[in-house]
């Protein structure tokens, strides 16, 4: 089976992974932003979800 020979099949699989990767990257960027906010505001001792250095 050659995927390149079927643009619809390639498009469907590619779109699926693009959607999932874009969503995962929003989670990662939100987490990084939150971690930075915790560092800047000195809230490390008050929140449980961030690993100690």
């Amino acid at each position: 089976m050659k995927m390149s020979g079927n643009p619809y099949l390639f498009a469907a699989y590619a779109v699926t992974w693009i959607i999932h990767i874009v969503y995962l990257s929003t989670i990662v960027s939100r987490y990084s932003r939150l971690k930075r906010e915790i560092e800047e505001a000195g809230l490390r001792s008050q929140v449980s979800g961030v690993r100690k250095p």
Binding site: M3, Y8, Y13, I19, Y23, V47
Partner: protein, 231 residues
């Protein structure tokens, strides 16, 4: 323990997803009439099933929140709706990509397609409500909306039986037959996408919990600070 389990499960899920992809593209037999384009089935159907399960989780968590007012239930409801919308988006995009070469059209306003679009819009409105409403009643209103939205899920699934539609019969309980090898590949892909959805939900749950802790800490800081807000 939980922090160690996450990367292990992540690696196992990545292996399972790669194996499922191999099975879908190489191992599964080619369908006689549609040809290779039928392999979209192995991503389209598991994504739909996963979205339906996540919407039911959202329903269950919303009911728990309405009864017990537990914040954890509210977080589970939010997370499952968000990840469910992502999977439902995949269904709504891969469906027309499959329909174009098989039916000759990208979209038709038949009951299955239209009800799936309405379902997606209901959960997108749910997420908009949660994102843009600042009222303290938002989780309660969202839970009520989620309970009503969940009623739409069985309607979407059974719409194929209730109405004459262009969409094929369901694989499970639809009365049609499927090659056992195709069913095997379908179930592997479903398992892989379910594990992936679980991991994404887990990450999103941790993020939301942390966000709420930070918001609470900011609120406490502003109460301590006589000049007012920290932010």
């Amino acid at each position: 323990m939980m922090k160690r389990a996450f990367p292990i499960l992540g690696v196992l899920t990545a292996i399972l997803l790669s194996y499922a992809l191999y099975m879908a593209l190489v191992w599964a037999p080619t369908e006689r009439t549609m040809g290779d384009v039928q392999r979209i089935f192995y991503y389209h159907v598991p994504s739909a099933w996963t979205a339906f399960i996540l919407f039911f989780v959202n329903f269950g968590a919303s009911v728990v929140y309405l009864i017990k007012r537990k914040p954890a239930a509210d977080i589970v409801a939010l997370v499952s709706a968000e990840v469910g919308v992502v999977f439902c988006t995949v269904v709504l995009i891969t469906g027309p990509i499959w329909a174009r070469p098989v039916w000759g059209i990208w979209w038709t306003w038949d009951m299955r397609l239209t009800s799936t679009l309405v379902l997606w819009l209901i959960y997108v409105s749910y997420l908009f409500l949660r994102r843009f409403s600042s009222s303290g009643q938002t989780p309660l209103l969202a839970a009520a909306l989620a309970v009503l939205g969940a009623l739409c899920v069985p309607f979407v699934y059974f719409s194929i039986w209730f109405f004459r539609t262009q969409h094929p019969q369901p694989v499970m309980g639809g009365g049609g037959s499927i090659d056992p090898r195709m069913l095997h590949v379908l179930l592997i892909n479903w398992l892989a996408f379910s594990c992936f959805a679980f991991l994404v939900c887990w990450s999103r749950y941790r993020l939301e919990k942390l966000q709420r802790e930070v918001d609470q800490a900011h609120a406490m800081e502003s109460l301590k600070d006589p000049r007012g807000s920290v932010r």
